[in-house]
């Protein structure tokens, strides 16, 4: 069941194509990561989905009465309201009854760890607190679709981890679409990857699909010194190259299996430190995708 279907969506600002005919679906309960370099059109795409911007081409089909929560990259609040007053207003504006709005606000502020400052004015909040409050106002009305623009990139490592854990605890109950350029975090919570570049969707699919398309699996054998690695490359029956104190064997279709490498090493008695099968990280894939187009 798809909550949102986007078809050849475009947005032009004057002659500039910020978003250029992209299409994708958001399945109910899924988490989708929108990845791409700065200026790729991530924020524009999210703004159109949130209803802030009108598309200049294509269409967005939303499920009927879809309720949306949106967290901009830099959420800006009325500094003279308290955290609780703000989330309460946000809930009411999204159609929650007055009585429930209060309860849900208190619960949500507790969830994001702001219960102790619920009655404090937002004007005195730190950046991290504002980011948490931004998350709170996006989820306080229990939306079925959550749109997050760079939800963690402005946070320090601790805050990043905490907010990431919060997001992961929402995964499954709520459909999430978030943009990020911190790819390690995207790896943690994603059912679908969308790579944007210059407003175009240059790659998409599940993490494992994308990975299988781009990865060059290889076996890296680390030795005590470069001489040993050199010796291995000369003796080994497979094509291998020396990289520092290690030997690297590409294992596409015709490469050796791990067991064969172990058997060979056991016979040759070389000073091995470690053997590992390497898979491409999302970061490697990202660089390849960006470079390839």
């Amino acid at each position: 069941m798809n909550l949102v279907e986007v078809k050849s969506l475009s947005k032009r600002f004057g002659s500039e194509h910020a978003v250029d005919g992209i299409g994708f679906e958001l399945a109910e309960g899924s988490a989708t990561a929108l990845i791409g370099p700065n200026g790729a059109g991530k924020t524009t795409t999210l703004s159109m989905l949130a209803g802030l911007l009108e598309a200049t081409g294509g269409e967005i089909q939303r499920k009927k009465n879809l309720s949306i929560g949106f967290l901009p990259q830099y959420p800006r609040f009325f500094p003279w309201l308290s955290a609780l007053e703000f989330t309460e207003m946000a809930a009411k504006l999204s159609g929650v009854d007055a009585k429930k709005a209060r309860q849900q606000s208190e619960r949500t502020l507790g969830f994001v760890g702001l219960h102790q400052v619920a009655h404090k004015k937002i004007g005195g909040f730190s950046g991290g607190m504002k980011q948490r409050l931004g998350l709170a106002q996006a989820i306080v009305h229990q939306p079925s679709l959550l749109l997050l623009d760079e939800p963690i990139s402005s946070l320090d490592p601790t805050g990043r981890r905490e907010v990431m854990e919060l997001l992961k605890s929402l995964h499954g109950q709520t459909t999430v679409l978030y943009s990020t350029h911190i790819l390690n975090d995207a790896e943690e919570m994603t059912d679908q990857l969308l790579f944007l570049q210059n407003g175009r969707l240059v790659e998409h699919g599940s993490l494992s699909e994308v990975r299988s398309r781009y990865e060059d699996p290889q076996i890296r054998i680390r030795f005590e010194n470069a001489d040993a690695a050199e010796g291995f490359v000369q003796q080994a029956p497979w094509p291998a190259v020396v990289k520092g104190t290690a030997a690297v064997i590409p294992v596409k279709a015709e490469g050796p299996a791990m067991q064969e490498v172990f058997r060979f090493l056991a016979v040759k008695n070389l000073p091995v430190v470690g053997v590992e099968q390497e898979t491409a990280s999302l970061e490697d894939i990202f660089l390849k995708v960006v470079a390839g187009k």
Partner: protein, 261 residues
């Protein structure tokens, strides 16, 4: 309605916590008091500054209390109007520009409720200020000179109130349509100036014009306005108000994309 009350509560808190509901009335009260008081002490002031030749006797006729109330209105028309324009120029344009509006606009917001909540709160604060200022002026005039008949005073202030609400609507319309608060204030002041100019050049017979509302207000202290002309003016004023509010709502919605994300 749920949205309207939530937004009105927000506007109330904003006006309260930005102290608008304190300082705007204080300014109007000061304007209201200063006019009769400075008239009362005018002879002494002239004397003390010594601008007159030795032996000259100052014989100033006491001003009529009605004249003083009209002079208070003159102060409101000038300084009071400027204060209201500056205080409310950013109502919508400012929220859009500093990005605080984004978190409102991404919700299924009724732009009618959004505009009208701001309009109602700004009108309430403005009317409260104008009446406080007029009452202060009325009281000082009564103590220092003589009292204006209270009934006439109420009719005078009530008629002027319609004009104030119309100006507040214009400010909010400008704030909804212009990209920033400064341009909104500029548009409002320019519109008022140009309309007044056109009016003084060609409008000698435009009895129904909303710009005549201050004149009609003043004439309540004199022989009273022509009831028929006043009625038409009120009808036209109401029509202008509705048109300004409706286009203001339309602009507020159309310009939602201009909010800083």
């Amino acid at each position: 309605m749920k949205q309207f009350s939530a937004l009105l509560l927000k506007e109330w808190r904003e006006n309260l916590r930005n102290y608008k509901i304190f300082w705007i009335p204080v300014v109007f009260i000061l304007l209201g008091i200063t006019e009769p008081l400075s008239n009362y002490y005018l002879p002494q002031i002239l004397d003390a500054t010594g601008g007159l030749p030795e032996g000259a006797v100052i014989e100033l006729p006491d001003p009529e209390p009605e004249q003083l109330m009209v002079a208070v209105m003159g102060q409101f028309q000038l300084i009071g109007m400027l204060v209201l324009v500056l205080a409310y120029m950013g109502s919508i344009a400012g929220e859009r520009r500093n990005g605080t509006a984004t978190l409102l606009y991404v919700r299924p917001l009724s732009y009618t409720s959004y505009f009208l909540s701001k309009w109602l709160m700004a009108s309430a604060v403005s009317l409260f200020s104008v009446w406080a200022g007029f009452l202060a002026g009325y009281y000082y005039t009564a103590v220092l000179f003589s009292a204006v008949p209270f009934g006439e005073f109420v009719a005078f202030a009530a008629t002027y109130s319609v004009w104030i609400v119309l100006v507040v609507t214009l400010v909010l319309f400008a704030s909804a349509s212009m990209p920033n608060a400064g341009l909104a204030a500029g548009l409002t002041l320019a519109a008022l100036l140009v309309l007044q100019l056109i009016h003084s050049l060609f409008g000698s017979r435009w009895e129904w014009s909303p710009l005549r509302l201050p004149n009609y207000a003043a004439s309540f202290l004199d022989i009273g306005p022509d009831a028929n002309a006043l009625a038409w003016t009120l009808v036209i004023s109401l029509a202008c108000l509705i048109i300004l509010a409706a286009t203001g709502i339309w602009f507020a919605k159309r310009n939602r994309a201009k909010t800083k994300v």
